[in-house]
Symmetry: C2
Subunit: 421 residues, 2 copies
């Protein structure tokens, strides 16, 4: 690839960055995609890795492999630590890149709203490493309960608190209830996994606030049917190794999971432009920066308003933004400098709760229970990258459905928390 | 289960310990199986996890799940840190167990023969965590090569040294060669994975010393055909972050893997009885301790001589010992105290080298190449625990065979070594 071609640097290989790279397949440009991981992650199924239903490689594919035939792309496993807008340079850990066009798609991470000390005791779920750490914690808790004679101390190992009633919190809580009631049933001789309490805490008035109130209510009923206790309108005020404080009440629980808040990637602060409250970059209608038409921001890092409402931080929105920027850059490279405003097309919302339990919302159509679950299943398998991954995930789910088993119940690494007990 | 029943404690859930537990399914006894991991590991395929061909859960199954229907077994995820033969007690991290019968099956770990400082730069392969650490190192090395401009520094990332020419070393070296030549081909834009050097170093006169000399020679030819350089009769004298010293010559290599030595579990030293050079316990003909007929040792931790030769430290031998002890204890529980000496039945030896390359030895029959590989494949899939694991491994291998892809090419965790570079 001659160096004379314009150089497009894409930071982040998630749904937005990867889609942008792929939609530039015919562009007369050199493209460099930088991600600190070697893989694209199918984040909507990350909770399944955390709850031992899927193995890590089933929901991840190496970025190099996805892009191996796209000869205009170079993939680097590295991380941007600085952006110089004036010089048009990105500083990585191991090298510095000059760019003609920059696409920043580094997404969001979980945030503790000023309580970073909660982190070690309430891990969040954004990367495969997070998921494997949560899996380790959850499975180890049942193991510790089996070896604890004192009833109240045993119960502290069997109490699970999930903070945050959005999609991730609902998925985690519903799946934990299934694990305790079905998967582990009959495998312990001293402790009773069925006596586990799964508590879902949401500070707002309902779970799945992005859905219609009616679907939120149905989701809550499905959760309760699975055995989850749902506590609405309550905020956690403290988290430590022994449990959480909830409106002055202390709940003893060694396993607390955080699904309450996300904050945009810190790269946003290097772009010299206004951010919203969550740290997202306020982009122009075409997703470029106000004073830098050569810099684009997309996905969870971008704050985009449409018809007076924010475009949601979901995978389809990030993909559509990636496509939009790809199309726009292809036009720019042809010398077409027209402004192409981004329009988000809402294809509907889906959230799963557990075995045969989900909610779905497509325009005016509202579904819950089994029909919604089938749609969720089909959509997630369909969008999984790679034929093999789809096949293995289908197989895993078919087996899990019939046997109520979860095949990835393997503890790797060490649970530091449990060692200190 | 009434406490009056005799208590059998089994330390270790590998092939030996698990087989012993299963063969006591009808015994009128309480059985406690202790393992520091929550899973039984199918160790013969561990190198496939290390080289990204299989995911960790594909070769591991939770011990609780395997034994869920065997109501006389309690599984504890814990570790023995002391054995009191006089009091008949085992001290674990979290509790103390009284036993009537003790089966010690804690196997072996890798050993550096007095060079423990080599460990961080030459990881060995015994657990899933080891395998995931090796996978991370190997995949990260190619990523670093892509970002290194200096040719000699780049080559140091593309040089791989495997120390030890036994089955594990041969499998690792052969698979690394395939990864460099086939799997990664076409995915890098700056570095050329094909220029990787895979060096297999063996201090003895031939690879696979447990096989016939003729099969060792065939294995070496197959390795060389795959692109591995085999260096026999040479010993590594130093290992550090920059590479290895081999007979005074320095070889620059950031990735060094250790497959040279194993040492028996340190529990052997607590048994107050003579050990052999490798730290294995010299047991009686029935696998019990000389002065303690209620204590048995089996598998890689036991030193057993038969017809003037040691019984090899392989999975079939450990399983046979587990069965033997199960049968013997069942007799003891019926009041039959006859001595039942253990006899090892050699079912043959198999070692794989790479795609369509293996060696096999059954009595007088010698096979190599494709026929040996098919037998190896069938045997390993057949003996994999759990229907699902078999199915997924078959699927993975069928896909890998046709596409030359390796689906588990996912880097999780952090490569500390690479961070220091």
């Amino acid at each position: 690839m001659p160096d004379a071609l314009p150089h497009i640097v894409i930071l982040g290989g998630g749904f937005g960055g990867l889609t942008a790279a792929r939609s530039l397949v015919h562009a007369p440009a050199r493209i460099t995609l930088v991600d600190r991981h070697n893989h694209h992650l199918f984040q909507p199924l990350l909770y399944q890795v955390a709850t031992a239903g899927l193995s890590a490689p089933s929901i991840a594919a190496p970025l190099r492999q996805i892009l191996r035939h796209q000869r205009n792309v170079t993939v680097l496993m590295d991380e941007a630590i600085g952006i110089d807008l004036a010089q048009r340079q990105v500083q990585l850990h191991r090298e510095r890149l000059d760019y003609d066009w920059l696409i920043v798609a580094t997404g969001a991470t979980h945030a503790y709203f000023g309580h970073d000390d909660w982190g070690p005791n309430a891990p969040g779920l954004k990367s495969l490493d997070d998921a494997l750490a949560i899996r380790r914690r959850v499975l180890t808790a049942f193991e510790r309960a089996e070896q604890e004679d004192d009833p109240s101390r045993r119960q502290a190992w069997l109490n699970f608190v999930v903070i945050g009633g959005g999609a991730t919190g609902v998925e985690l809580a519903g799946t934990l209830a299934e694990i305790a009631r079905h998967t582990l049933s009959g495998e312990f001789r001293r402790a009773q996994p069925r006596t586990a309490n799964i508590l879902l805490v949401e500070a707002g008035p309902r779970v799945l606030a992005a859905f219609d109130p009616e679907l939120s209510a149905r989701a809550q009923r499905q959760l309760e049917h699975l055995g989850v206790q749902v506590r609405l309108g309550h905020a956690v005020t403290a988290v430590d190794q022994e449990g959480v404080a909830l409106d002055g009440q202390h709940i003893a629980a060694h396993t607390v999971l955080w699904a309450a808040g996300v904050a945009a990637s810190p790269l946003g602060r290097m772009l010299d432009t206004p951010l919203d409250r969550a740290g997202r970059v306020q982009v122009q209608a075409d997703l470029s920066l106000p004073d830098h038409p050569e810099v684009f921001v997309l996905g969870d890092l971008a704050s985009v308003q449409q018809d007076g409402r924010p475009v949601p931080g979901v995978a389809p929105a990030a993909k559509q933004m990636g496509q939009h920027i790809g199309r726009l850059l292809a036009a720019r490279l042809r010398g077409d400098n027209r402004c192409l405003p981004f329009r988000y097309r809402d294809a509907g919302s889906l959230a799963t709760i557990g075995r045969m339990a989900a909610v779905a919302q497509f325009g005016k159509l509202r579904l819950s229970g089994l029909p919604a679950w089938w749609i969720w299943l089909g959509a997630h398998i369909w969008f999984l990258i790679g034929f093999r991954n789809r096949l293995v995930v289908m197989l895993d789910w078919a087996m899990a459905y019939w046997t109520q088993e979860r095949h990835a119940r393997i503890i790797t690494g060490t649970d530091k928390r449990a060692d200190h007990e």
